[in-house]
Amino acid sequence: MALNLTKRHFFRSTLLLLALAAAPAVAAETDEVTRSLGLSEEQSVTSSRFPRPASRIAENQTVITSEEIARINAHTVADVLQTLPGVQLDQLQTPGSVNFFHVLGATGRHVLVQIDGVPQNFIGSENIAWVGHIPVQMIERIEVVKGAASAAWGSALGGVVNIITKSPAADRAAGGMLSASTGRSSTRDLRAELSGSSENFGYYLTGGTISSDGLVQGNDTDFNHGFGKFSFALPNRGEATLGIDVRQDSMGLEESQRFNFHNTGANRYVSGNLSVRYPLAERLDLELNGRGGKREVENKRMLLSEPTLFFDASGKESFQGAGASLSWGDASHALKGGVEFERTDIEARELVRQLPQMNFDLSLRRLSAYLNGTYTIGKLSILPGVRLDHIDLLEDPVSYTLGATLRLTDSTLLRGYAARGYGMPVITNLGMQSGEVQRELQHVRTVQAGVESAEIPYLWLKGTLFYANVWNIQGFDGLATTLDEQVRQGVELELRSSPLQGFALTGAYNFTDARDRKSGEKLGGGESGPRQSLKLGLNYDNQEAGLTAALIGNYVKLHDLGPSAKWDGMLWDLHVTQKLPLDMESTAELFFSLRNILNSEQYQIEFRPNAPRWFEAGARYRF
């Protein structure tokens, strides 16, 4: 009854808010200067005919920009990924905590996550990239490739999350932003940003802290981060860029009175990267990059009834890498080839049981060469690619892809590709059961085909069919590690509308059928993500009034939830931002987010519940 009342109240309030907000949107008009110079459109346009231009690439890619990230008041990359079609977070807890995710049925450990070319996957920690420990402030855009992309990216069996950071502000010597928000359970996010350029030098600096007493029991976080980027202009429009990334996070992971345990973790990360881009000739660019850094992770589990540790693990990883590439050509006719080297030293320890598979030192070196091309004949573009890797201790994979796009009209594009790719195996624990590193990589053969069209006025539609056969997936049958073969196939549909009176709709539906190839049995949600998911968004923009709002719904259906799971309804979040212009150079923004509005429960394990309904509000000052 109480829930019904809340739901009714929520929908009525939302409708009222949106109706009120719509009123001033109608009043927007062109200014007098533009009109007097004949630069305004002859007929006033209330809605653009097409939501967006069609993309030209063969892969199924989704891009999200810093403006869209700011709209949803995201704290970390985990918050952003949760809103993207085809991507699903397993746990939605306190900002700054651990998150696992799936991309079109592929587990996050098969997805390469990188920031400005620096890989974030922790080979010594099951190849997972902790997207909940990547803050969003420094992000300019995130490009998510859904499906195998090894020919271009290397270990990317399930896709790529390519994070590109902001460049120094080019139009001022100094500008920046201060932001603070607070919400339930003392959940706070404090950030600052400073950016500017002089003649040949630019800088971008940001830092902040995310902390919380925990939106769920035992899930407190204390996350500090800093990021810097310095650019130097070289002759002939070349550029050198130096990036530094520092993060430190300690958190409670989970707690259970019933099972009498408490689980905590800590992460430390530091990296630096230097890249040089230099045009050698017309349509011929040279790129050089070097990177290095350290990752450390700790995990301690203890009894609640007495201060006894029963698990005390740590992993340390130092990495160095370098690469060189040449890109030649344009959109119609292009080649990109390059070489890469990467060395990763891993140190794993578990001090309580001291099992050999959790106590080892390992050094991995990878040497790669790749070549990717584009060739266009009329409306057809063919996109072949190949990559050879040599990895110490593991097998040497050959990855290749053959893609094509066919531009049927200016607004409709057919795309498809077939590829073979690989992913790094789990080295710790499962990968060391025999005392030696499992040599087999995890492999995929995949085919995708899709269409993207803005042919129907005011609608942009995209559909993708995908099939992936993956093998050498590590499992454990109680006695030994098994190497399983799985088939994941399905469909993804996306929709966007043009804004009408400031309102625009987005929607995405995904169906994934994931099965064990031998037995034919469906895979559980933990292994393959949701069987069905529906993401809905209603965005509102009123530039005149400086008001933006986003109402986001997320429905997920999993297979084989497990006995302690709870899964009801949709998760709805509302984000509202009101801009208050102070002058041309500075603005203030007030914002709030109401997350999990209907207080839905969605979790697979009872001591890892999702965050309940929570509210946060804050302010930003941009100068």
Binding site: L37, E42, V45, F50, R420, M584
Partner: protein, 291 residues
């Protein structure tokens, strides 16, 4: 392995085959207006390179960075303010802009951005004021919108012996109260293309004031001559397109290295003879000129 060899062979064969290059110029047009179309006709007349045009107002959202990454143009042409704003994050490719009010009025742009400015150079206006016999010139401006231009104008005015009586206006409604301050202080008004100052109400008030005080008002568009402005310096969109096209062709040929902001070269003087007669003024000399 056969598929691998096939991919390699395909990549190498295709890349060695002769093929037409993709578009040299990515043209981002803010909206479909006759002025933009006219300027683009001029651009195409002077720059024969291939171009791919995207009209931004056709789309609710355009991710210009993605388009640039996919199209890989050698040059971007941003036509109008909306296109210039949408391209502000592009750094690797030279960007030329035309018919963009913001290009040289308010703030500086990255080194890869240039083009032909919309605003006529201050020196041309000062020649006109000289011809009108005005030495004290009143001007209203919003520092955030036309501050950069006014700074340049003030510097040039000082050097040429003019007194620029500049009054900042932060909100449109403030203009009318500030008009009174100009009484008896100026010999002419200079109306800048500043959207804070130039509203329909303010234009009416300013021109009424100029008539009542018997001082000429000079504007950036002939549109206001019928409302009582004495003269206007207008740009020619077609020639602005030709001028931009010449710069683009020079960049594409590799002759020019730096992207710069340059003033429009063809300026047309429009005058309201009846207002000039009433004010007993005569514009002397040849003021329509090619820079």
């Amino acid at each position: 392995m056969r598929a691998l060899l096939l991919s390699l062979l395909l990549a190498l064969t295709l890349s060695s085959m002769p093929a037409a290059w993709g578009a040299d110029v990515l043209i981002l047009q803010s909206s479909r207006t006759p002025a933009y179309d006219e300027a683009l006709r001029g651009f195409r007349a002077a720059c024969k390179s291939s171009g791919h045009t995207l009209v931004l107002s056709d789309y609710a959202e355009v991710d210009v960075l993605r388009i640039v990454k996919e199209e890989r143009p050698r040059l971007i042409l941003a036509v109008g303010d909306k296109a210039l704003a949408a391209s502000r994050k592009v750094r690797e490719v030279p960007l030329l802009s035309m018919l963009s009010l913001s290009l040289n009025l308010s703030k500086r742009f990255p080194d890869n951005v240039g083009g032909v400015a919309m605003a006529v150079a201050p020196g041309e206006y000062l020649k006109l004021f000289d011809a009108l016999g005005a030495k004290r010139v009143g001007v209203f401006y919003d520092p955030n919108k036309t501050g950069l231009y006014l700074k340049r104008a003030a510097h040039e005015a000082r050097e040429l012996g003019f007194v620029l009586v500049a009054e900042p206006v932060l909100e449109a409604r403030d203009l009318q109260s500030k008009l009174e301050k100009m009484k008896g202080e100026v010999d002419a008004f200079w109306m800048l293309p500043d959207s804070t100052v130039v509203t329909m109400v303010n234009v009416e008030a300013l021109l009424l004031f100029s008539m009542s005080q018997n001082i000429p008002a000079v504007t950036f568009t002939g549109q206001y001559l019928k409302n009582g402005a004495a003269a206007a310096l207008e740009i020619d969109p077609f020639d602005m397109g030709v001028q931009t096209g010449e710069v683009a062709a020079s960049l594409l040929r590799g002759e020019a290295r730096r992207v710069q902001v340059i003033p429009p070269r063809k300026i047309r003087l429009e005058r309201n003879e009846s207002v000039l007669r009433k004010l007993r003024l005569k514009i002397n000399g040849q003021l329509t000129m090619d820079n």
